[in-house]
């Protein structure tokens, strides 16, 4: 890969006048992305739209069947169940998390310098763990058995044990807690970075005006963090719509209805049932759902941004 010195001389002459040679080198430098993206990113997404209209098990020849895959998916109650699960878990796992993260970031910013690093590291540590590990640990914490720690705690408070992994809300709460626990520290640190960019004078002014702690958060911190908040809402929404690992690891290959998500529904269809056509139809539907949520986010951020 050692370029010859001679070529370099030519290059420096060419750049002054004719551009073609440098153009070529630049294209060469950026080409790996475009080549790999074309093969493993763009083409697969476009091809999904094609497969969505075929009957295909991945082995035998494809067979065109119009909108039947879409009809099948949209008529399947499990698909709607997976969509409502995704949205409910998304809301439960995201909004409380972002609110708690703002408070934690505020607290971290104003606490004594000495322990700040320690708190910061502790709160951030869950993010470093893999989702698989989180789902396994919380799967045992939220075991339906009496020895599951959550049930032990409920017992101490004089409550009946809950069948976390088999009941409608038990499953959703358990998965939301996993999402919450893993991401709250990450968002806290992002907010902290945003808060540290807020000029101290604003707080001073608010204090002089006699603003309480809550008022300072409400009227100084949150408005100044607007763009960071929009960014995290955006990321969380997209992340929530792609939820997969937590329910799969927590519920295993039983794909229980209480916890099936859209991506899990798609994955089961493709890689357990070998129904590539309907799975692709689901991918296309998910594509439009993501598009819808993205444009809602953009609209929201435009309104807040003004």
């Amino acid at each position: 890969m050692e370029p010859e010195r001679k070529k370099g001389v030519v290059f420096s002459k060419v750049t002054k006048k004719g551009k073609p040679k440098q153009d070529l080198i630049a294209y060469l430098f950026v080409s790996p992305f475009f080549i790999l993206f074309a093969i493993f990113g763009l083409f697969p997404i476009l091809f999904s739209f094609y497969i969505a209209f075929q009957k295909w098990n991945g082995i035998t020849a494809m067979e065109f069947n119009g909108f039947q895959n879409f009809v099948f998916v949209l008529k399947d109650p499990i698909f709607w169940k997976s969509l409502s699960n995704t949205i409910i878990i998304g809301i439960l796992g995201t909004f409380p998390q972002l609110i708690v993260a703002i408070f934690l970031a505020y607290a971290l910013n104003s606490a004594l310098i000495k322990l700040k690093g320690l708190y910061r590291a502790a709160i951030f540590m869950p993010y470093v763990t893999s989702t698989v590990a989180v789902a396994i640990i919380f799967g045992i914490l939220f075991s339906s058995q009496d020895f599951g720690l959550m049930n032990v705690i409920l017992g101490w408070m004089g409550m009946e044990p809950v069948a976390w992994s088999t009941t409608e809300w038990g499953v959703k709460i358990a998965i939301s807690v996993m999402v919450f626990w893993r991401w709250v520290g990450y968002n806290t640190i992002i907010y902290l970075a945003g808060i540290q960019a807020i000029p101290e004078e604003l707080y001073e002014a608010a204090k002089i005006d006699g603003a309480t702690l809550w008022q300072r958060i409400r009227y100084v911190t949150i408005p100044m963090l607007r763009h960071v908040i929009i960014f995290t809402v955006f990321l969380s929404t997209i992340g929530a719509l792609q939820l997969f690992t937590e329910p799969l690891v927590y519920l295993g290959r039983s794909f229980r209805e209480e916890g099936i998500t859209v991506v899990l529904y798609l994955w089961r269809d493709a890689f357990v049932n070998n129904a590539f056509g309907t799975a692709s139809a689901t991918a296309v539907i998910l594509f439009f759902i993501i598009l819808l949520f993205t444009s809602l986010n953009v609209k929201l951020s435009n309104r807040i941004g003004k």
Binding site: F29, F147, L192, I238, T245, V263
Partner: protein
């Protein structure tokens, strides 16, 4: 007093948050060192036991733990090195070279960051099958060699840190474009490399969906897939399962505690810029 009470309150909030964040790690360790019977009684054991070695031996009976660790190391390091090289090269081109269609191409790269890649999961799987890469680590490495965020990140950094004069001087000396990249750009962007390396390494190491889809054979499992396979056992031995999780998590936690400042700074910077 008005100042004192909020301060106590904030500290209390932080202490509770920190304890709740760390508790599952502690609990994982407690279970990894206890016999299953100590975990399944009510209330379960709350202090570490003496089964650390036995539980791990049971893990080794069920999965090829070190093989899977090795696979994860290979996949994560190769992908990270690829991303560092290709993204800095592309970032350099977008930051410092002039060529036709530059802005459009760059805008396109930014746009791709918005699309979740699993929307093309089925054709991706099909392509991997056609290439004969099923159960082959190449299936993870090759598609991961470039990264839209990485290019964006590198372009920002190179634009901000490498003065044009430095490049002009090298050009007059007769250096080729690649030589300018290698001798001037690369040595001056070490912090950007460090940040991108951390972000990429972590995301590859912790990836689950794609490896689960294309690595079906035990010998090709990454550590995430192997650890998950532990819970497939008919008899649930929680001590053994958590021992697997613990040892799979342990290296990352150690690295994190050693470099926690760099870790947090780089991830927040990376996240905020995108």
């Amino acid at each position: 007093m008005r100042k004192f009470i909020p301060k106590i309150f904030l500290h209390l909030v932080l202490i509770i948050a920190a304890l709740l964040s760390i508790f599952p790690f502690y609990w994982m360790f407690v279970m990894a060192t206890n016999h299953n019977s100590a975990i399944t009684k009510v209330p379960p054991a709350f202090v570490p036991g003496d089964q650390l070695v036995t539980n791990f031996q049971n893990v080794l009976k069920n999965i090829d733990f070190f093989g899977a660790m090795g696979n994860s190391v290979i996949v994560s390091i190769t992908t990270t090195l690829g991303v560092l090289f290709f993204c800095s090269l592309a970032g350099f081109a977008f930051a410092k070279l002039h060529f036709k269609g530059k802005n459009i191409l760059f805008a396109f790269i930014l746009l791709t960051m918005m699309i979740p890649m699993q929307l093309g999961l089925i054709p991706q799987y099909y392509i991997i099958t056609k290439l004969g890469w099923l159960n082959d680590l190449k299936a993870i490495i090759v598609p991961g060699l470039v990264d839209a965020f990485g290019i964006f990140w590198m372009r920002q950094y190179i634009t901000g840190t490498i003065p044009d004069e430095l490049m002009d001087a090298a050009k007059i000396d007769g250096s080729s474009t690649f030589r300018i990249y290698w001798n001037i750009v690369v040595p001056n962007i070490t912090p950007a490399f460090a940040t991108l390396a951390i972000i990429k390494f972590m995301s590859v190491w912790n990836d689950f969906l794609w490896p689960l889809t294309v690595l079906r054979d035990q010998a090709s499992y990454t550590i995430q897939i192997a650890v998950r396979a532990l819970i497939d056992n008919y008899v649930r031995d929680n001590g053994m399962i958590l021992s697997g999780t613990f040892w799979a998590t342990f290296p990352l936690i150690v690295v994190f505690l050693l470099f926690n400042r760099l870790f947090i700074d780089s991830l927040t910077k990376g996240a905020l810029k995108s």
